[in-house]
Assembly symmetry: C2
Homo-oligomer: 481 residues x 2
């Protein structure tokens, strides 16, 4: 099904009409609306998981877990709205004795207006119709129009029906959440005058095209894209010596998780040249299995991506995992050396969706640092080192390249918490924000300050009595109720 | 003087080398560096004001005041850095009992890297080499390369020399602040791979061109432009009745201040059609004088802008102010009606730099609201009403159109405080941020989270003992020391 331009105009008009209601809604109402959406999804979990499994083949266990993550996310944002810090309330009292006399200023953040959300293929719940972008945009006080992913159209339609109805039943206005389908509708959506910001999770190519549309508008809008990430891992010589076996096991578990279709998959692993890590990994990957990939496009792209890597003269195959069913992607580990990566990063450091990772041998810190400088911006960077290691230089590069730096474990698995950061320098994301965790809400807010306003014309949360119950800064001093 | 590509490369390399030092600098050091820059400017105020007056003809009184604003701004950001809230420190402790087990996460904001700042013509100090963009970028922990404005080249060079020397003398690294000159150098600057963000204050045309360069990079960077604003004012019938005389006087003072060259100049004023406001304004403007405009370009554009407005059949001249010297712009008040504005906003609502304002007569709320919908995004919107007025609908539009909504006084004059918001929907600015006030620092920061980091590898301000002294959120609870 494809949404026509006329249909989009109707949805956009409804979103525009809903926007002032969302913007002016109280914290209690907005939190209740988010929780109503979460409850409705939990109540339909059996039906939704069945449709999702038919469309994505991700399996019931993973999909049930993902629904829980999705509804947990909606409820986290309800808490964020109630807590109130996200408003960044700031008051400076008038000062008639200043030169020039200073007026009273009361600052809040407020919703930007209707938001476009582009669903991802690999998280049919958590980064799709009712996923993190939608939850944070609603929490910020904005209606949302979602572009369905073509990989799970029926699930998208059913999810949108359930959430839209739950919102209205809970008292939110018509037009709070709607769905468009088809690539052209997506392009029209990001260019629609009503839309004030967009969130996206997907490929670099698709995201760049939409970013260019958003930036090229007569009135450019912010486009928050999560586009691609190779998620470098560095293993120090002493870490390899002390816990090589565990590292090999952990790496194989992480890069094959979900058939290697997580945006935080460790795609490139820098290892000491002579520590025997390739053999350890080969032993572990031999028993690992892949799985079916999400869409025909990803299924076709996976062997192409591997062939592209193997075409480089420096690349060799370390080991393969288990053959699965005929439609299953087989895990593979490749290797190269740091000099090749530094020389040809555009070939060797392109993200390849699916169960593949590239080991990069380094023989010295100099070689390692030169290769790391060639790594594109990533969501995560992982350093496995031991207490005695000198890692300051490596850490300086990793902090510059990624939004989340790990010192234990593996980057797959992204906790949805107050502090989480899921974003990083281009092409990991297009922005200085996160698409996971409480502060994702900031993407869909803009500052608004009232100068010398009569109390009755202020938004209620800027009244003095409301300020007493909310975190706020007054005359430079941060106060927590 | 024009900066060559080779010279820019040298400056960019120095900025890149300085970036890790700035990023890792302690709050105490960074605050001391900002104060050293402020002290150095205050110490050279006589020399600097003399050069500025020669180049801009803004006069000694205004220029001395602007130096004070500029050094006050640097000192405000020193306070912001010491206070620490801007880091948004957030810790979630590990939770082994969660499903899946939750790692420890410690989030901070950190400097984006070298920042480009484009100076404005109309604030040779406060929005130029050592102005708000530079102060907030340095405070965020980033070196800065400034593009000088061609309207005050000698002042730019001297300011850059003084500030760069003061920073280094205070212990900051070489390459902390440098200057480029010439339009081509500016274009190359915003495209330079070392530059990670840009701040700009200037015209819509120039800003849009640089925005497109920033967005069109292989790795797009955020471009924070403050581009143009008509700053609508609405006067209600009862406000006109109660204090028409004072409103006319206030408007004339505001739109002629600084010869009408402030970005917050009230450029369009919605007035009741039959309240006699035009006559009141005419009486006040008769005694008002303009002044010399900043540059030859602005001097040439001012009569062109007025002619463009007068070419509309709906526009009439209400009154002129005093003729000044031969190079002086003469104040002028024009008028039209709300229906014309709603029909031809692109003609009637274009910003015109200089002492001109457009009165727009409205006969009903419906007419007023339709015309307000046509107003482009603005830095400010002002509502002059009386307690009994029904203003909810007007206020809804004004909040959507502007970043600062005033209920008394006039929009010229922008206090530099914690709560100030100087920004608004396109084309007022390109972003969801402010270019004046404490939170301007957020534009040049990005989030970075450390997962399961050993304490000795964390930035010092994320250590437990430092957190005890800084505002932070831990396990969802905001704490102020």
């Amino acid at each position: 099904m494809t949404t026509t331009t006329a249909e989009l105009d109707v949805l956009a008009a409804a979103a525009a009409a809903a926007a002032p209601v969302w913007r002016a809604s109280s914290a209690a109402d907005r939190a209740a609306w988010l929780r109503a959406a979460a409850d409705a999804l939990d109540g339909r979990i059996d039906e939704l998981v069945a449709i999702a499994d038919e469309e994505t083949r991700l399996g019931e266990t993973r999909l049930r877990g993902e629904v829980g993550r999705t509804t947990g996310q909606l409820r986290l944002f309800a808490t964020v709205v109630e807590e109130g810090s996200y408003l960044e309330l700031t008051v400076d009292d008038a000062d008639a004795s200043a030169t020039p006399p200073r007026p009273e200023l009361r600052r809040t953040l407020t919703g930007v207006g209707p938001v476009a959300v582009f669903s991802a293929s690999n998280f049919p719940f958590a980064f799709s119709v009712a996923g993190g972008d939608t939850a944070s945009a609603l929490a910020a006080g904005n209606p949302v129009i979602v572009k369905a992913h073509s990989g799970h159209p029926r699930l998208s339609e059913r999810t949108a029906e359930i959430v839209a109805a739950a919102l209205v039943d809970a008292g939110a206005p018509q037009g709070s959440l709607s769905l468009v389908e088809g690539r052209e509708a997506g392009n029209a959506l990001v260019r629609h005058p009503v839309i004030q910001a967009a969130g996206f999770t997907g490929s670099l190519g698709g995201g760049r095209a939409l970013f260019d549309l958003a930036s090229g508008r007569p009135d450019p809008i912010p486009f928050y894209g999560e586009l691609g990430s190779v998620n470098p891992v560095v293993i120090s010589p002493s870490a390899l010596t002390v816990r090589g076996e565990a590292l090999a096991q952990g790496l194989v578990g992480s890069f094959t998780l979900g058939a290697g279709q997580f945006c935080t998959k460790p795609g490139v692993v820098f290892v000491p040249a002579d520590g025997g890590f390739e053999e350890l990994v080969a032993a572990h990957v031999a028993g690992a299995s892949g799985g079916p990939l999400l869409t025909d496009r990803i299924t076709a792209a996976f062997p192409e991506g591997i062939a592209h890597l193997e075409a480089d003269p420096s690349v060799t195959v370390v080991a393969h995992g288990q053959d699965g069913a005929s439609d299953s992607a087989r895990p593979v580990v490749l290797s190269t050396d740091a000099a090749a990566v530094a020389a040809r990063p555009e070939t060797l450091l392109e993200e390849c969706f699916g169960p593949v990772t590239l080991l990069v041998r380094y023989s010295s810190d100099t070689e390692l640092l030169a290769a790391l400088e060639a790594v594109p911006g990533s969501l995560t960077a992982t350093l496995h080192s031991e207490p005695g290691d000198e890692v300051a230089d490596v850490l300086e590069v990793l902090q510059r390249k990624a939004g989340r730096v790990l010192f234990a474990g593996w980057p797959t698995g992204v906790a949805v918490t107050w502090s989480q950061q899921h974003g990083g320098p281009w092409p990991a994301t297009t922005s200085l924000h996160t698409s996971v965790g409480a502060t994702a809400i900031r993407r869909f807010l803009r500052p608004l300050v009232f100068q010398d306003a009569p109390q009755h014309l202020l938004p209620p949360h800027l009244h003095d009595d409301a300020l007493a119950t909310l975190p706020h800064r007054r005359n430079g001093v941060l106060r927590v109720p």
